[in-house]
């Protein structure tokens, strides 16, 4: 591990002070628990001149969760979300996703904002400066080629692996973004632009994976409660603690008598963005039978594009994602 680069630390106590600090230091990066950013600083991946510590901003630490609505501030810790009685009771998919992140000590430190905006990962990126320079760097940093897909023509395939995003996306969550002139709210799924396509639609890839403009930052997430919605999160990883997911799956569904009335599935750890599967509503309207299982598997196969960005092969992660989606859907439907 390299020596820690030089940077100044600013500790604002209010959102206004954060905005001022950002204005004074346009190159600054926001610091939550540091469980990802400080590691990247120590590996020489990023070297921001200024860090703005968000954990002291009291107005961003609140969690509100009842049957009607869910609101979580960006500086709430993952442990606080995982243990919150209202989140556990009404939004189990979010509590389960939070409880599955890294290990217990990491969750005391890590924040919701940090997990939502978690930097994309790749075996060619999350390495020491020495390792990366010996490999001629890659697109995600200062290199000119993607080692995962050498013919990618400028597209970076680093993988998004935050766990909260897919959970929240199954609840149609929105994200609140602050900027110097005010705030804006957008669907959480639109925050993630890592489509890894160069089709002129203004989308991004593993390097440009968030729809935030310069000066913007996430201040919180919100969702409405849906009566009768059942939800759960599960993931596979190499060991049951600390590791990032091989694949993580969030499922939310409604059952009306014997009918699958609604189905939403979101997947992380596979693409440069968390993927809310398109086409799940076409599977609704009947029993959860072999047709639905096959349809779900087809959607995963079509939309999940896991590449060799981790030590587990891409085709294995795609199969795991499909199996988890089916298991969760059947469990939720039958219980």
């Amino acid at each position: 591990m390299e020596a820690v680069s030089e940077f100044a630390l600013v500790k604002p106590a209010s959102l206004d002070a954060v905005l001022e600090a950002r204005k004074a230091n346009p190159e600054a990066q926001l610091l939550g628990g540091g469980t990802d950013l400080v590691v990247n600083i120590r590996r020489g991946i990023v070297a921001p001149p200024v860090l703005i510590d968000m954990t002291g901003v009291a107005e961003l630490r609140a969690i509100h969760a009842d049957a009607g609505r869910l609101e979580i501030g960006a500086s709430a810790t993952l442990a606080e979300v995982a243990e919150h009685a209202g989140v556990l009771a009404h939004y189990p998919v979010v509590a389960q996703a939070a409880a599955s992140i890294a290990g217990p000590t990491h969750r005391q430190m890590g924040t919701v904002g940090g997990n939502i905006c978690l930097d994309t990962r790749c075996i060619f990126y999350n390495q020491s400066e020495w390792w990366r320079s010996a490999n001629n760097h890659c697109l995600k940093t200062v290199g000119d080629m993607c080692h995962v897909a050498p013919k990618s023509r400028g597209v970076c395939f680093a993988t998004y692996s935050g766990d909260l995003a897919p959970a929240l996306m199954t609840l149609d969550a929105e994200v609140d973004v602050a900027h110097p002139k005010g705030r804006r709210t957008m669907p959480l799924k639109d925050l993630y632009i890592g489509h890894a396509r160069h089709d002129g639609s203004g989308t991004g890839d593993g390097k440009h994976y968030l729809a935030l403009k310069p000066g913007e930052f996430v201040v919180g997430v919100r969702a409405k409660g849906v009566s009768g919605l059942r939800s759960a999160y599960d993931k596979i990883r190499i060991r049951k603690s600390i590791e990032y997911p091989v694949a993580g799956v969030a499922v939310a569904l409604r059952r009306d008598g014997d009918t699958l009335a609604d189905l939403r599935v979101a997947i992380t750890g596979t693409n440069p963005r968390p993927v809310l599967l398109d086409g799940t509503r076409a599977l609704c309207g009947g029993k959860l039978d072999a047709r639905v299982v096959k349809g779900l598997d087809d959607l995963v196969r079509d939309q999940i594009m896991s590449m060799k960005t981790t030590f587990t092969p891409g085709h294995y992660r795609r199969r795991v994602a499909g199996v988890l989606a089916r298991r969760l859907a059947e469990k939720l439907f039958n219980n």
């Binding site: 591990m1 680069s5 469980t35 400080v38 000590t105 430190m109 600390i242």
Partner: protein
Amino acid sequence: MASVVELTLNGRKRTDAVPGNRLLLDYLRETAGLTGTKTGCDGGECGACTVLVDDKPVLSCLTLAATVSGKRVDTVESLGKGGALSAVQRGFHEKLGSQCGYCTPGFIMASAGLLRRNPKPSESEIREALGSNICRCTGYVKIIEAVQHASALLARGEAASP
């Protein structure tokens, strides 16, 4: 650019000027001279550097020293009192929860943090609470027995604190 950190370190108030990029781990070992906290992976993957901040376990290798200003920081040096081992220290000693010993300060602090908020944890709660720590010697069984022993010592009043 230095900032002032005022903290309660192992029960004593202390004030230091630290650079913004000083890690809590380096502050404890180099500035405060408390070398019981170990440097392991330096990347948040092993838990050897675990200390308690306001009774909650944190990884000191990923925590900036300036962010703990106004808080209580406890390291492994804080546990023994006047030569008497704490419950968790006795547990690791008497149940052989330590072999090479390198991960032990981190395991002891994560365990002390658990017993401070839950003095009678179940085995699964112990396993869960130690999920951020890695030991390459013991196979963990003896470590879990050590924490169960510490919990029993506390329950029987044979140790004053975790």
